[in-house]
């Protein structure tokens, strides 16, 4: 069920009613059961066939977590068994992910490489549909045995609670990629649905819908036109399309995450912050602490750190960064453009590291006009670097990328001015809200406003959604990953 559909709203309302009634009786275990059923129903709406897959992955990871957390042999070999179980479960999870998502990609790539050397091999392609949310819930599931292995948490006694953790409907399709040590404990006890949480939930959901249905979908029209047939465009139109995609992907994915977090808040749960005004970042490291935080921190904690992180010297650190970001790119999809996008960010991280303190500084203290220029300049430059990466990320082929970059310029067409105006109009609310989030230090600042002021602001947002929302339901970008 897509968030931006009437059926989801009706579904959510129904679940909330039942959940609230159970909450009045403090029956949190029954609340979990209701949420679990709702999560499986919601996932089944996408495709019934993959319920078995998510259920199977749940069982395997739960069993592995139990085995890791309850070693039955002596201390020395217990450590080995724990490592073995961890290795097996990660291998299993990644095999499932790899089979569904990457088998055909690597098979095709291998065939092409061999073919370039004159070796002709038949392609073995599997006719598999990528289960929706697989990339997200696989990574989420992996955190459970991993966190148990690291001693951050004990295995949960309740299989149902764990099943809910893996399949929780606000997060299962497109994240945020929760940590077992963060979300699971919230399921394992009574939860308070406070007025504050309801207010925050309302704001997050409404702002999420506005970001998706107004900002992302509207600027996306420009992006689709140019990327649909780039040969018809040149100069500023291409630059505008790249800028539009930079806005679109933030509003689309940020909107999804906000809706997910808002929905979770209504049930009394707190999900990880996934976006923290990312385009105000001043360097690549700063960017990756603000963009898709749940994914970037996952890669940091479960790949970069085990590879050695920054503990093994400058060159090894650079290699670790590159490998991590390449795999991060690959996670997004089975295409070389994603790999190149990841490599680009890895390259940026490495280069900025070599710049030392200047490259890593996130000091925003305004001392004088020079500091304003410095902060502003570094921020804008970072946006440009990120936008360049998005241009590759969005492209469907390298020839498209080559065309886009080679035809950038200052020439304009009859649509340039109206596109600039459209991009500006729809980006402005996003900029305003992000500045307010930055200044107040809270992504839910609006929830703390006076109820009358809140009502007027929300009313304007709802009116904007009604007026500008597209006639057809559009899917979220990150659903495809």
């Amino acid at each position: 069920m897509v968030f931006n559909s009437l059926s989801f709203l009706a579904f959510l309302a129904a679940v909330l009613v039942v959940y609230s009634v159970l909450g009045l009786r403090r029956a949190w275990k029954w609340q979990n059961i209701v949420l679990l059923i709702a999560s499986y129903v919601s996932y089944g709406f996408w495709d019934m066939r993959f319920l078995a897959l998510i259920a199977g992955m749940t069982v395997v990871n739960y069993v592995a977590g139990w085995a890791i957390g309850h070693p039955t042999s002596k201390a020395g070999s217990a450590s080995t068994r724990k490592r073995l179980w961890l290795g097996l479960v990660i291998a299993f999870d990644l095999c499932v992910l790899g089979t569904f998502k990457y088998f055909n990609f690597f098979d095709d790539s291998l065939v092409r490489v061999l073919s370039s050397f004159g070796i002709h091999v038949d392609s073995v392609s599997l006719k598999l549909i990528l289960p929706i949310g697989l990339s997200f819930y696989t990574f989420q599931a992996i955190t459970y045995p991993f966190d148990i292995y690291r001693g951050k948490m004990a295995p949960t006694r309740s299989f149902l609670d764990f099943a809910l953790f893996v399949s929780f409907f606000p997060t299962v399709v497109s994240g945020p990629i929760e940590r077992a040590s963060h979300l699971l404990p919230q399921f394992e006890g009574p939860r308070d649905v406070t007025i504050e949480k309801i207010n925050e939930g309302m704001w997050l959901i409404l702002w999420g819908f506005f970001q998706k249905m107004v900002i992302a979908d509207r600027v996306g029209l420009i992006v689709n036109q140019v990327y649909g047939d780039q040969t018809q465009f040149h100069g500023l139109d291409i630059a505008i399309a790249i800028a539009a995609y930079t806005v679109q992907i933030l509003a689309d994915f940020g909107g999804y995450t906000d809706i997910a977090r808002g929905v979770a808040r209504l049930f009394g749960f707190d999900l990880l912050l996934n976006f923290n005004v990312p385009y105000f970042a001043m360097n690549p490291s700063d960017f990756w602490t603000r963009w898709h935080i749940s994914l970037s921190s996952w890669f940091r904690d479960y790949l970069y750190v085990p590879l050695g992180g920054n503990r093994k010297g400058r060159w090894r650190t650079s290699l670790n960064l590159l490998v991590t970001m390449v795999l991060c790119g690959l996670w997004h999809g089975a295409a070389w453009t994603f790999v190149v996008w990841g490599a680009w960010h890895g390259f940026l991280l490495v280069v900025y590291r070599f710049l030392g303190k200047i490259g890593q500084s996130v000091d925003r203290t305004i001392k004088n006009w020079r500091s304003v220029l410095s902060i502003g300049g570094r921020t804008v430059f970072m946006v440009v670097l990120v936008a360049a990466g998005w241009a590759v990320f969005r492209a469907t082929s390298f020839s498209q990328v080559a065309y886009l970059f080679s035809h950038l310029g200052f020439s304009h067409s009859s649509t340039t001015i109206s596109w600039i105006w459209q991009l500006f109009s729809f980006t402005l609310p996003l900029i305003v809200v992000q500045i307010l989030q930055l200044r107040t230090g809270s992504p839910v600042f609006m929830a703390r406003l006076n109820p009358w002021g809140r009502g007027v602001a929300y009313g304007c947002l709802v009116a904007g959604i009604i007026i500008f929302m597209p006639h057809q339901i559009t899917h979220f970008i990150y659903q495809a990953f």
């Binding site: 459209q422 107040t440 230090g441 703390r448 109820p451 002021g453 809140r454 009313g459 304007c460 009604i466």
Partner: protein, 475 residues
């Protein structure tokens, strides 16, 4: 930095307001109130700014009927002839010659095919309630538009209060839920007119700059608009509905029944014209059957006195004469208008012949023997009326004339003099000077002068046509 953040945060919460569930309730109420205010503002804005010359709403046509309605609502004085129908009426019927030969004022409310005949019925009923019956109503619609049922989005944009269908007279046979959908479509404009609002908000400089283009009473003699031809797309495979059997909708049935009954009860002339056909398409038996089915169905509404079918043998045109299968190009629309007008005049002549007074021309004098290209001839006509038996005869009516290349049809006129009102008495040679100032005298040669003497016979017209062949010489 932290202090600033704290100050800003406290500022946001400093204003007092209800807390807890009361706060949430207050928020929700405020949301609804804000939506109501914004919706109301948008509603009144759209009432005043319904249609711009450009923008998606003009293409989508959702506000299409509005231009006619606003023309009708703003009408200060009655007209003698109403043209109703879809864009076929708007494009193919030229009002000037119709006004000249049927007399008085004319307004062409030809609109959007999707609006269904209910819209025509309501416009007629509205006009009648406001001014009383006109003398003539001409209805022209494309064949397929008789098959349309009401579209609630069009009904919603009619700028009349809720329930106008009951007050006007033609009431649709409502299906379950339609009234509710209509209510939302009419009043929840944030949603129902989101396309228009989106366009307006994205073009803020035009928010109040473009007045709505309402239809006004106007006599014009030729169309200037040309659009790229879409004729090549017209075939059985791509447009199957043009060749399928004729199936009129119940809305069309209701509308025509009410309009016909109104004509009979109020005594005005109601002409239903058959539209032009593309000659190649009309060779298709399916197309012929469809048009013939339409004519047969329309015949049930006609009678000998008030409701008439015009151009029952459809006029066919070549592809190069048509913009699309419903719309004629400039030049061709003149032919169609003259042909329809000719039949209407004939019908009226037959009906008014007994009461018409004899009228003729004692003399026709030109202001010059010969003209040069571009000159505007002035014709002085001396009218006579009555006979030695009927010496009290006086004739009220109009005089108009046209010049056409010798031997050609009226539709190929080059110059016209619009109708001038005249009252002629027996024994007086009433003189009328007409300057032919509509059109262009572009070629040398000989031209015929055609004079139309129209006399009012009650609510009908009787036309005396006088031809002076080869009278005008142009060097």
């Amino acid at each position: 930095m932290q202090e600033q953040a704290d100050r800003l945060r406290s500022l946001l919460t400093r204003i007092a307001g209800p807390k807890g569930w009361a706060g949430i309730a207050a928020t929700v109420c405020c949301v609804l109130a804000t939506l109501l205010v914004l919706n109301t503002a948008a509603y009144y804005y759209l009432q005043e700014q319904p249609k711009s010359a450009h923008g998606p709403e003009a293409v989508i046509g959702a506000r299409g009927p509005l231009s006619g309605w606003h023309g009708l609502i703003d009408l200060k004085e009655p007209v003698d002839t109403l043209i109703l129908g879809d864009s076929e009426a708007g494009v193919n019927l030229v009002t000037g010659p119709i006004a000249d030969r049927l007399g008085g004022n004319i307004i062409n409310l030809g609109n959007n095919a999707y609006s269904s005949l209910l819209m025509d019925a309501w416009m007629l009923e509205y006009y009648v309630q406001k001014f009383g019956p006109p003398r003539n109503v001409i209805l022209l619609r494309s064949c397929y538009s008789y098959q349309y049922s009401r579209i609630l989005e069009f009904m919603a944009v009619v700028p009349l209060e809720w329930g106008y269908w009951d007050r006007l007279g033609t009431v649709p046979d409502w299906k379950a839920g339609e009234l509710q959908k209509l209510f939302i479509s009419k009043y929840a404009v944030l949603d129902s007119d989101s396309d228009v609002l989106t366009y307006r908000l994205m073009h803020p400089l035009d928010l109040f700059a473009q007045p709505y283009t309402k239809i006004t009473p106007l006599s014009y003699y030729s169309k200037g608009t040309m659009i790229a031809s879409t004729m090549k797309n017209y075939n059985r495979e791509k447009w199957p509905w043009e060749f399928s059997p004729f199936r009129p909708s119940s809305d069309s049935m209701n509308a025509l029944t009410d309009m016909s009954n109104l004509a009979r009860s109020l005594g005005f002339q109601f002409y239903i014209a058959i539209g032009p056909e593309w000659d190649e398409a009309y060779q298709d038996p399916g197309r012929q059957a469809k048009v013939s089915g339409m004519e047969k169905w329309l015949t049930q509404f006609t009678d000998s006195q008030y409701v008439h079918l015009v151009l029952t043998t459809p006029m066919t045109f070549r592809e190069d004469q048509m913009q699309n299968v419903d719309h004629l190009r400039p030049g061709a629309e003149r032919q169609y208008t003259e042909a329809a007008l000719g039949e209407i005049v004939s019908i009226q002549n037959i009906m008014s012949a007994v009461q018409a007074k004899p009228v003729g021309l004692a003399s026709v004098v030109l202001d010059k023997r010969e003209y040069t290209i571009g000159e505007q001839p002035t014709v002085t006509l001396s009218l006579t009326t009555g006979t030695s038996i009927d010496t009290t005869a006086s004739v009220e009516g109009d005089v108009s004339c046209l010049i056409r290349p010798s031997g050609k049809s009226d539709s190929e006129w080059v110059y016209r003099a619009p109708a001038t009102a005249v009252v002629a008495h027996y024994g007086d040679n009433t003189e009328v000077s007409l300057t032919l100032n509509v059109g262009k005298l572009g070629k040398a040669g000989a031209y015929d002068l055609i004079v139309f003497l129209r006399q009012s016979v009650g609510r009908l017209s009787f036309e005396t046509r006088i031809e002076r062949l080869n009278m005008i010489k142009v060097k």
